[in-house]
């Protein structure tokens, strides 16, 4: 699999050296979404001093990075990628990330909450809430402060979750990186208010108006490499509370009576492996994934265990600085 990742990414990088016209035009819908995202990214580059792209390795990040490569072509990516590594990501994700950074000669910055790591914070003993708070939310805040970013791209979409539906494209954060949902700046036309004072920052969501289906169709049309975990394959999993958790390494404590079994699974969303449930699937191609999507009966974030902590949980996390 490792070899496959590197080959496909090398081929991908080559495409940007001498771009060829598309074989068939994008649908007007995807074309409009692409143009809008590119416009947003160029606004950020032109108006901010220290922009960064928060790169999470998943499919939305893949699309966001692809759009950025297109937006600034023939210039190379004019800002760094920031990854927040909770130390519990799928192994394959890290391989993919590193291959991509190398092929495109990207400036990749990885933030790990070393204090949390030293304390051995993990989702098994401390629960998903504390783990997310320490290893993701705090780590992200640390990265923002350490590097003094004044604008950070995130791959969130409005169709993902209720509190996301009301998020601005340019979402203001105060000096404490907090989000005040009641006091958001009105956002009209494509006329984005980018003004901030020292210490404040803006989170920018160029994929705001994309749906999950748009993302998949775009990945297909543009032939964007994604982490192979999105495709169905026999993988060792255990079943917990009806969720299929992949045994990605030996840190997953098995409960009495649990034995990992090989099952055909894939992931609709990628995060920390103990917190990201797989779905049984036979979809091994993008076509099949899209078809599966169309008949899917559960929404994407249901595989995200952290959203179920309590009602309104996403909004709470966001106020505290989570993406």
């Amino acid at each position: 699999m490792t070899g496959d990742i590197q080959t496909s990414i090398a081929r991908y990088a080559k495409r940007f050296q001498k771009p060829q016209p598309r074989a068939r035009a994008l649908s007007p819908h995807l074309q409009a979404l692409e143009a809008e995202s590119i416009h947003i990214m160029r606004e950020v580059l032109a108006e901010f001093d220290r922009p960064v792209m928060l790169y999470s390795i998943g499919k939305d990040s893949a699309v966001m990075l692809h759009l950025a490569l297109k937006a600034f072509y023939p210039s190379s990516l004019p800002f760094p990628l920031q990854h927040v590594d909770s130390t519990f990501k799928f192994t394959e994700m890290i391989e993919f990330r590193d291959a991509l950074a190398e092929a495109f000669d990207l400036e990749l910055r990885v933030e790990i909450n070393e204090e949390g790591r030293a304390k051995g914070i993990n989702p098994f003993d401390h629960g998903s809430q504390l783990h997310t708070q320490v290893m993701k939310t705090e780590a992200l805040r640390n990265a923002m402060e350490r590097h003094g970013y004044d604008a950070a791209f995130g791959g969130a979409r409005r169709d993902e979750e209720k509190s996301r539906a009301k998020e601005r494209v340019f979402s203001f954060r105060d000096a404490k990186q907090g989000w005040d949902p009641k006091n958001q700046r009105p956002e009209l036309w494509r006329n984005y208010n980018t003004r901030i004072t020292k210490g404040e920052s803006i989170r920018v969501f160029p994929l705001s108006n994309w749906t999950e289906l748009d993302i998949w169709q775009y990945i297909q049309e543009e032939d964007i490499p994604i982490v192979p975990l999105y495709f169905a394959k026999e993988r060792p999993v255990v079943e917990r509370d009806g969720q299929l958790i992949m045994v990605d390494d030996d840190r997953l404590p098995l409960q009495p009576g649990e034995t990992p079994r090989q099952r055909m699974v894939r992931f609709r969303t990628l995060g920390c492996y103990p917190l990201t449930a797989g779905v049984e699937s036979s979809a091994q191609s993008l076509d099949e994934i899209v078809l599966e999507m169309l008949t899917a009966r559960t929404s994407e974030r249901s595989g995200r265990l952290i959203d179920h902590d309590e009602a309104g949980s996403m909004e709470k996390k966001k106020r505290e600085g989570y993406f």
Binding site: F16, P19, Q20, P21, R22, S27, P28, H29, L30, Q31, A32, E34, A35, I38, H39, R42, E43, L45, A46, L69, K70, A71, F72, Y73, P74, S75, S76, R158, E161, K162, S163, A165, K166, P181, K182, Q184, R185, P186, E187, L188, W189, R190, N191, N193, R195, T197, N209, L213, Q217, S285, D287, L291, L294, R297, T298, S299, S302, A311, G312, E315
Partner: protein
């Protein structure tokens, strides 16, 4: 059919929905007219909800719902905790769904009056407005307000959704009564179409399906109507416009201008004009990451390479040379005010239009609109949610077209300079007087050339400080020394300005602002002539000094804060002004009964109680030498 064939066919079908282009609509109306319910129901009936979403919905309905045992569809949309608790929608939510025929983006906007700004936000990108009316209550103030905003924001199609028909006995008579009342006001506004539909959002009647209860209604359901509506934009037929977002310079061999084409089309070989400067050039390449294009049109993000080297930067607009946009520093615009702090004529705001941001102020407030009657009323300020026609004066010329011709070229926001909040939304009607349609002629001799033959870099030395601080004294010595060194200078101060150029101005706040504006413009001309200009004015307000600073390039404005303690100034009192002020003979005297806002980051600070005037002047000269204004 094989599995593979079935898969590709299904995928093709979903792509087909995308070929139609997306329809963006917003729902609006008064509180409790059922907006959120309508969208929730649309999603539910189009089978677009996932199982876990339905489960959450059922659980939430029992917890927060207002519909007893039944599903409360509104809960699907009211995303933020606060509004769920209050049972109202306080912010715009964007929802996405598609049918086999089309993709939709819905903006669900608030009904409460205090959230009108959010409705305008939703309307700014919408093609259609679905305006809800409660069949029992009929047309309300808020219905008309939203209709007016929809029209002002350039929406061409309205659906009058007469909702809760089940509570009005499904009465055809009641339906037609409401239509008549609505049309009486809305008909004159000039929409392309107004389609009334009777419905019960809660039960889905005439939303996605027809029902027996309203068999008297023969028109389309809401979904049918939205699927079929043609909103193909005419913006591609307008003249070419592309605001430059960013100059793309990967290396010395490539220089491209990146932007989103907001109207018209462009082909390689086309002659374009850089609107503000009047320079023309031809398009050599249209560059994208999908290869070179021969042509591109409105809605595409591209990078244009021109056939000659020009000084183009962010904020410039590339436009069809045969059909140019207007260039003016003054225009008339409709402004929707969105802040609790009132809009006051004369106050300085930041205006962002396209890729340009410039200081601007309202020079005249012509009238505001009474949204109940659409009548014009005289006014002296705009309060939150009020709409007024304003004359706007910008610190520098901006490039625009009327809003109703090209939305993106005529839309602007106003930003508070201190809180950075977006406080107003504006739509340009037309340019005002002198500057409009006068296209600058690009001159062969420019600022750099003029400065070069003088062997200096031009600058404004802006001396600010209290009366008696020693501004003119220091400036005088600085000018003498520069001249002795063979440099070319000029001095502006109260004496040579107040008696001529500004003799029509008094000392009211408005006149003081105009005084500094003119001085700034004159200083700018001297800078353009290649001179080092000293300006000595109390100029007590940061915003005015900022206004002048923004007239010239970054390096060219040097603020010298003559920071002499007021006790020293009062003791000196060279013109006897402090004495008069203390005796009450002069009002609004800076430092006594009128504030002096000290510079936060002046380039230079000199204290003439510690330094002699000569020493202070030397510090200024040092600064100039260090930055090679003088060599």
């Amino acid at each position: 059919m094989t599995h593979q064939e079935r898969t590709s066919r299904a995928v093709d079908n979903t792509s087909a929905a995308g070929t139609r282009g997306v329809l963006r609509f917003l729902t609006c109306g008064s509180v409790d007219d059922g907006k959120s319910t309508l969208i929730g129901r649309l999603l539910y009936d189009s089978k677009l909800l996932f199982e876990d979403q339905v489960n959450t919905l059922e659980r939430d309905s029992r917890k927060h719902g207002t519909t007893g045992e039944e599903i409360d569809f509104a809960l699907l949309l009211d995303g933020l905790e606060a509004e769920r608790e209050q049972g109202i929608t306080i912010d715009v939510a964007y929802r996405f769904f598609s049918t086999s025929k089309r993709k939709f983006v819905v903006a669900d906007t608030p009904g409460h009056e205090q959230y009108t700004r959010n409705m305008a936000t939703g309307a700014s990108t919408a093609d259609v407005a679905v305006i809800l009316v409660d069949a029992r209550k009929g047309v309300l103030t808020q219905t008309l307000r939203h209709t007016y905003i929809a029209r002002m924001m350039g929406i061409r199609h309205v659906v009058l959704a007469v909702n809760k028909m089940d509570l009005a006995g499904h009465s055809s008579g009641r339906f037609h009564e409401i239509i008549a009342a609505y049309l009486k006001v809305a008909e004159g506004l000039g929409f392309d179409s107004i389609i009334p539909i009777p419905m019960s959002a809660r039960y889905g009647d005439n939303l996605t399906r027809k029902t027996d209860e309203m068999s008297w209604y023969t028109g389309p359901t809401l979904l049918e109507y939205l699927e079929e509506l043609d909103v193909s934009s005419s913006v591609a037929a307008e003249p070419f416009r592309m605001p430059v977002q960013w100059v793309n310079r990967p290396d010395l061999n490539f220089r491209g201008y990146s932007g989103l084409i907001v109207s018209g089309t462009v082909q390689t070989g086309d002659e374009v004009v850089i609107a503000a400067s009047g320079t023309v050039a031809c398009v050599e390449q249209i560059v994208t990451a999908d290869g070179y294009l021969d042509a591109a049109e409105a809605g595409q993000s591209v990078t244009l390479v021109l056939d000659r080297e020009l000084d183009i930067s962010r904020g410039d607009v590339l436009a069809a040379s045969g059909d140019r946009p207007e260039v003016s520093d003054q225009f008339a615009a409709e402004v929707l005010w969105m802040s609790e702090d009132h809009l006051l004529p004369g106050r300085s705001y930041l205006l962002k239009i396209g890729t340009t941001t410039t200081p601007a102020s309202v020079s005249a407030l012509k009238h505001k609109v009474d949204i109940n009657t659409f009548d014009k009323q005289p006014c002296t300020k705009l309060e939150v949610n009020e709409i007024g026609l304003c004359n706007i004066a910008c610190a520098r010329p901006v490039v625009f077209d009327p809003y109703h011709q090209i939305r993106d070229m005529g839309a602007f926001i106003l930003i508070d300079r201190f809180t950075n909040q977006t406080v107003g939304a504006g739509m340009i009607r037309f340019g005002l007087r002198r500057a409009s349609n006068i296209h600058r002629h690009a001159m062969d001799v420019d600022k750099a050339t003029r400065a070069r033959i003088k062997g200096q870099s031009p600058a404004i030395l802006w001396f600010t400080g209290l009366s008696g601080a020693g501004k003119s004294t220091v400036a005088n010595i600085v000018e003498r020394k520069l001249t002795e060194a063979g440099l070319h200078t000029y001095s502006l101060d109260g004496d040579n300005v107040r008696h001529g150029l500004n003799r029509d101005l008094g000392f009211t706040d408005v006149d003081r602002v105009e005084n500094i504006r003119r001085i700034g413009e004159v200083a700018k001309l001297f800078v353009d002539a290649g001179l080092i200009v000293t300006c000595s004015f109390i100029s007590p307000f940061r915003s005015e000094r900022q206004m002048v600073r923004e007239l010239v390039d970054d390096e060219e404005f040097i603020e010298v804060f003559v920071d002499t303690p007021i006790e020293v100034c009062m003791e000196r009192d060279p013109k006897g002004l402090y004495e008069k002020a203390r005796a009450g003979e002069i009002k609004n005297f800076t430092g006594l009964d009128s504030p002096y806002e000290a510079p936060v980051k002046a380039e230079l600070r000199v204290d003439t109680s510690e330094l002699t005037a000569e020493e202070a002047a030397d510090e200024v000269i040092e600064y100039l030498l260090a930055r090679e204004h003088a060599k």
